[in-house]
Symmetry: C2
């Protein structure tokens, strides 16, 4: 998605060789118009998959997921990282390990949110090691629903997540695929591939 | 907002005499079309206030805030309840006391997100004792920006929040005002007021 890639180049900040900070349009401040375009793009990509529900995890996944739900005309569920007053017990639960934060968290989904005949699209803001997205797919599996697609806003293609998700056998669509963050510079996978073709 | 009130009556669950659970369209599962209508309604209410930024707090405030930002054509910032990897130090910080959870939490806003000339609309999903909304107004004050309005999706008018926010002297607009949750039944303030007028 060219508009997203342009925003990453313009406003993203590279920290070390692994972290891309996009706090100005996705992870802290949100650009609603960009989210709308992201929602349209995901909806177009998955429109033939018969999606009935979208699942994401709080908090940065919510904005792109809600916009996608708007265009696919389906409800959005956000898994919670903490039990709330109204989800004090029961429900589905799984453990997610965060490599960046070096901690385990638990994510929760209330009973009955997903039905056995639901066809579920997972949406998340970042794909790095894939632990968050894999955790969501486990919740979908626990509910007996069908995983029908995974949509990622920004994929760090130099990390392991993509490979792990591909093993699930469902369509994966990432709006921006980052090949490298070396030397403080963002290189996109498609551009690297084009470059390689030119050099062949 | 009649559509919202109808959904509260149809899908809300009253727990005790204080808690309204709306996990099917706002707090866990989100109805994107309802959020769009909520965004339109807030945008219409605050369109003459010269709003330049919206501030909410993760997670349930994000969906209504992003839709409002879309129609007001302004960015949305969500305050974080936890420091993230990319907000590890600095920034603005305030303490919020949650009466329902009986705990203090800290909320964070990165430096530079709000400017001194920003006119800020606060959006939140619930107004009960007002602590969350007041915390957001303190962050806006710390940034030197101007609080120009507060939009609340569901107000529990029988609790103290509304009165505390009115003391700030800015316009407050709640889409559904609940007069009581007594005996497991939702009574809206406008309906109670109409009823009183009829009985006069």
């Amino acid at each position: 998605m060219e508009e997203l890639k342009a925003r990453i180049i313009k406003e993203g900040k590279v920290i070390g060789s692994n972290v891309l900070k996009v706090d100005h349009f996705l992870n802290h401040q949100i650009d609603p118009h960009l989210m709308q375009e992201i929602g349209k793009t995901f909806a177009k990509a998955f429109k033939k998959k018969g999606i009935t529900k979208i699942v994401t995890v709080e908090s940065s996944g919510i904005a792109p997921a809600v916009m996608t739900g708007l265009f696919l005309n389906v409800p959005v569920i956000f898994a919670r990282k903490k039990r709330s007053l109204t989800l004090s017990r029961g429900g589905l639960e799984t453990e997610i390990y965060s490599y960046t934060k070096r901690e385990k968290i638990h994510v929760f989904l209330a009973d009955g949110m997903l039905k056995r005949d639901d066809r579920v699209l997972v949406i998340d803001d970042f794909l790095a090691n894939g632990e968050a997205a894999l955790g969501l797919t486990r919740l979908i599996e626990q509910a007996g629903a069908q995983l029908s697609g995974i949509g990622i806003v920004i994929e760090k293609s130099f990390q392991e997540g993509r490979k792990k998700l591909e093993a699930l056998g469902c369509p994966i669509f990432s709006l921006a695929r980052i090949a490298s963050l070396q030397n403080g510079k963002v290189s996109f996978l498609e551009d690297v591939q084009k470059q390689t073709q030119i050099n062949l």
